[in-house]
């Protein structure tokens, strides 16, 4: 059964009027690791950001666990966002906060406004945070300020933060663009491992085709806002790859 079902999604930038996504439809099932590939400017980042409505779609449906995210009122949207974990290209950690505070901030959708404003999180959350930090291998850095960590470490904090949300879906936006090749592979492995362990489907936007084919179960190819390919990783051959990247100008 499909966890996420996207039909006829289209996005237009208000400023330029350019159509960034045109009638894109795909689905993400349980246990899947879906990678979106395509040349730069294809709309991969925009697509990911539509799922939790960080970008407002112009048309189409985004059905997550039976509810259409695109039509939700803002209050329901907040509730839904807390079940979607997101991992970012530039890590997007709050640099001046400690690792622990950054990870705990994943629970903001669940903790009441007043206690969270005073940084009062229940002990159960602290326990969970420590467990997750152990899992991603950062137990020695719990009280460090986020900006004192290396790139790979920061991304792992980002993964931990997403996990804290008890997510039903993981959105991943270019997780390795800011990391060197060896660390990139480790991070991708960590994401896949965690997705399997906690049984969370992953929708990942990635420009490195090699990594995509290595870690994903299904590939979606995007070009100039249109879906050109959707299929299991094995079905992605040289010819289809050329089609997807045909327009790319180096």
């Amino acid at each position: 059964m499909a966890i996420l079902d996207v039909s006829d999604l289209s996005v237009r930038y208000a400023g330029t009027g350019r159509e960034v996504l045109r009638g894109v439809s795909f689905s993400v099932d349980a246990h899947e690791f879906v990678a979106i590939i395509g040349p730069s400017g294809a709309g991969k980042s925009t697509l990911i950001r539509c799922i939790n409505r960080l970008v407002e779609p112009r048309g189409g449906r985004i059905v997550l666990y039976g509810e259409d995210v695109a039509q939700m009122p803002r209050s329901k949207l907040r509730e839904t966002r807390r079940t979607i974990g997101m991992i970012f290209q530039e890590f997007n950690l709050v640099n001046r906060m400690s690792v622990m505070d950054n990870v705990l901030s994943g629970r903001l959708g669940y903790v009441g406004t007043l206690p969270s404003v005073f940084k009062l999180f229940p002990k159960a959350d602290i326990r969970r945070a420590l467990e997750i930090l152990d899992r991603v291998g950062l137990s020695d850095h719990v009280d460090k300020r986020a900006d004192r960590l290396s790139g790979g470490q920061r991304q792992r904090v980002g993964i931990a933060r997403a996990l804290m949300q008890d997510p039903k879906l993981l959105l991943v936006d270019e997780p390795t663009s800011s990391l060197d090749p060896k660390i990139s592979r480790e991070v991708m492995g960590l994401i896949r491992g965690i997705a399997r362990e906690f049984d969370v489907p992953v929708l990942c936007n990635i420009h490195d085709v090699q990594l995509a084919t290595e870690f994903a179960t299904k590939i979606i190819g995007l070009q100039d806002g249109i879906k050109i390919f959707e299929g299991p990783t094995a079905a992605l051959d040289r010819q289809k790859l050329d089609e997807i990247y045909a327009m790319e100008v180096l």
Partner: protein, 270 residues
């Protein structure tokens, strides 16, 4: 699991400790505030004389009217206020030159006496309130706009000189080196190496200060130093409350003009 429970306690305890420190600081701030509020509200205020809230509201309502008949009389003071701000800023910028020369480390002739003196002059200029400067100059040159101009000039020196001196101290040596390398003379180094870096900052600062001086210029008249301040004072002593509001509105219009002008000129310059 027991080890984990211990770590949770440790983290929770650490967070609680930090929270307590934050609360202690907030408590100190609040304590000082209560002491001050006590002095202001209990010791100093004569609540009986102030009357009820209704009476206070009535006092406020007095100002909620405009005296249109006053407007024709406002043109001259408005013009005078604006001109005072312009000339005051200009004179201040010129008087800055020796202060900057003294107060920039890489230019000053004397590191141990001249430089501290230059910085001292900058600080003095900024520490003395424009009203105090105005009082000094009214006493020295008499009533009128000249006192206001001089007061504004002296008040402006501090900021303009400080920013300019810092810009000169932080000048990037590489373009200077490049100009020297292609055989430029000292004047050319100044014109093509230093000025492009420093001039936009200086001009931007002068215009910024000019904008603030319009605001200051409007109150110079309160102590006899020219401009709208005198009109304001007159309306107050005549108890013409709508007139007071009208003068304030005139000041606001001047300030808005200044803000718009300064925004565009700064964009053009920097």
């Amino acid at each position: 699991m027991n080890a984990l429970a211990l770590r949770v306690e440790a983290v929770a305890a650490g967070r609680a400790r930090r929270r307590r420190r934050g609360l202690a600081f907030a408590g100190l701030v609040a304590l000082l505030a209560i002491v001050s509020a006590h002095t202001v509200l209990v010791v100093d205020t004569d609540w009986a004389r102030m009357g009820s809230l209704g009476a206070v509201m009535k006092s406020v309502a007095r100002f909620l009217a405009v005296d249109f008949s006053l407007i024709p009389q406002l043109w001259e003071p408005v013009l005078e206020t604006f001109m005072m701000a312009c000339i005051g800023t200009l004179v201040g910028a010129i008087l800055c030159i020796p202060v900057i020369w003294l107060g920039a480390l890489n230019v000053t002739p004397s590191r141990w006496i001249g430089y501290p003196f230059g910085r001292f002059l900058m600080t003095m200029s900024r520490s003395i309130h424009e009203i105090v400067w105005a009082l000094i100059f009214v006493s020295a040159v008499g009533l009128g706009s000249l006192a206001g101009i001089l007061a504004l000039a002296m008040r402006s020196i501090g900021f303009i000189a400080k920013i300019t001196a810092e810009a000169i101290e932080n000048v990037d040596p590489k373009p200077i080196e490049a100009i020297k390398a292609v055989g430029g003379s000292k004047l050319q180094v100044l014109r093509y190496g230093i000025m492009p870096q420093v001039l936009p900052v200086v001009l931007g600062t002068i215009i910024f200060e000019w904008d603030i001086n319009i605001r200051r210029s409007a109150i110079m008249g309160l102590v006899g130093a020219g401009g709208l301040g005198l009109t304001f004072h007159r309306q107050m002593v005549m108890f013409n409350w709508p007139g007071v509001t009208t003068v304030i509105l005139a000041i606001l219009v001047l300030i808005v003009i200044g803000e718009i002008a300064s925004h565009y000129v700064r964009k053009a310059v920097t």
